[in-house]
């Protein structure tokens, strides 16, 4: 896993989880890998992964079945989507708008770019 310099590692790992859920690699009710498996796989301290699990549990995205493991919540997909939407609006968009300003791009430029993007990509 490649980490960036901006966010705390436990949040970057949470992003990876969210992506797996949004891409439907992990579906509601699925058991997700254990703390140790994740820690070994991405070469981080198990405490850090535990922090990710706690964070996502607080957000209602995953839940713990004692002694069995962690699972994606029944409404995990929707919760993940709204969490990521919030992150996108609060974190990505301000950077994006700042760049638009610097490059003197307006909304209608974006609209046509978005249109051609949709044509060449069929979404996720």
């Amino acid at each position: 896993m490649e980490f960036n310099d901006n966010q705390a590692i436990y949040l970057q790992i949470a992003d990876l989880f969210c992506e797996n859920i949004l891409r439907k690699k992990w579906n509601p009710g699925d058991r997700i890998p254990s703390v140790r498996e994740m820690a070994v796989d991405i070469e981080v301290n198990p405490n850090t992964v535990m922090r990710t699990f706690n964070y996502l549990q607080e957000k209602g995205i995953i839940y713990n079945k004692r002694g069995i493991g962690y699972f994606v919540s029944d409404n995990g997909f929707d919760k993940t989507r709204s969490l990521k939407k919030e992150d996108f609006i609060n974190q990505e968009l301000p950077r994006f708008f700042k760049m638009m300003e610097l490059l003197n791009l307006n909304i209608s430029d974006l609209e046509s770019l978005h249109h051609s993007y949709l044509k060449s990509n069929s979404g996720i």
Binding site: Q7, A8, R36, V40, E43, N45, N47, R51
Partner: protein, 281 residues
């Protein structure tokens, strides 16, 4: 697991490597022990393992005074120092002779580590390169399942793939009743592995915090202009600045350990006041 009160030790009279040190470490951690050359890291590890006897103060490792080297203590502690000599045995012979000292020695795990590090049982220890010897010792040390594992610069001498294998093996080997203390200068090898961070300076502990509290209290950001106030430490970066400040926004930023270390060593008082002030609040 480790309780140290007012511990002092010096190799020479008048020149103390550890100065009235206090430290308490619990189980279930991979502690990172950082410090400049000569800060006392190796001496501290040796004191914890019972390889040196303190001049004054108290030290208990797993409830034992380590320097007494009780057998019940020794079978729960492994130390891998930077310099070592290995006997003229094969890997297999070494395991046969030394594993019985450790009641929970895990032979299956040992074979898995050997495989991970591409070593085999029939290799002669004296015929191995420095890096291979180190990988052998790490495999042995982790397979003992001893409660305490002390590693002095474990990634020195390891080749590029071995560093990733090292992180995997360590992440897998820690558990609720086991603590690893890793002294290192190779901060990038360890960045996401060590937590808490212990920083030693001139024989004293000047910083000891877990990552959760560090990310809550400090943040590291890049800026184009250096703010006039609030910057505890900064470095220049591609014409801009990487700044370390108190965490005002509540966002948890990535903790670059190199910057954190430089800030702690360079701005000791400022950093300490951030942590003390919030403890009292």
């Amino acid at each position: 697991m480790i309780e140290i009160n007012q511990l002092s030790y010096g190799y020479k009279r008048k020149q103390e490597a550890l100065k009235s040190m206090d430290l308490s470490v619990g189980p279930g951690n991979i502690c990172g022990l950082l410090g400049l050359n000569g800060a006392g890291k190796s001496t501290l590890l040796k004191a914890i393992a019972g390889l040196v006897t303190p001049h004054s103060g108290e030290i208990k490792t797993l409830g034992h005074p380590p320097y007494k080297r009780d057998p019940e203590f020794l079978r729960e502690v492994v130390i891998i120092t930077e310099e070592f000599t290995l006997p003229d045995f094969s890997v297999g012979k070494y395991i046969e002779l030394y594993s019985p000292f450790y009641p929970r020695f895990n032979h299956t795990a040992f074979q898995r580590y050997l495989e991970e590090f591409q070593l085999t049982n029939d290799q002669k220890l004296t015929g191995l390169s420095y890096g291979q010897k180190k990988k052998f010792l790490l495999s042995f040390g982790l397979a003992t399942d001893s409660k305490l594992v002390l590693l002095d610069e474990p990634t020195n001498g390891l080749d590029i793939p071995s560093k990733s294998q090292f992180r995997k093996v360590v992440a897998n080997a820690v558990h609720d009743e086991r603590t690893l203390i890793i002294s290192t200068h190779q901060i990038r090898d360890m960045e996401n592995l060590i937590d808490p961070i212990i920083i030693l300076d001139q024989g004293k502990i000047i910083f000891y915090e877990n990552l959760e509290s560090i990310t809550q209290k400090l943040s590291i950001r890049r800026t184009d202009i250096l703010p006039k106030e609030g910057v505890i430490y900064h470095e220049t970066y591609l014409g801009g600045y990487t700044i370390l400040t108190e965490n005002q926004s509540g966002e948890h930023t990535h903790m670059n350990l190199e910057i954190l270390f430089n800030a702690v060593v360079g701005q000791k008082e400022k950093i300490q006041s951030v942590f003390n002030q919030q403890v009292n609040a």
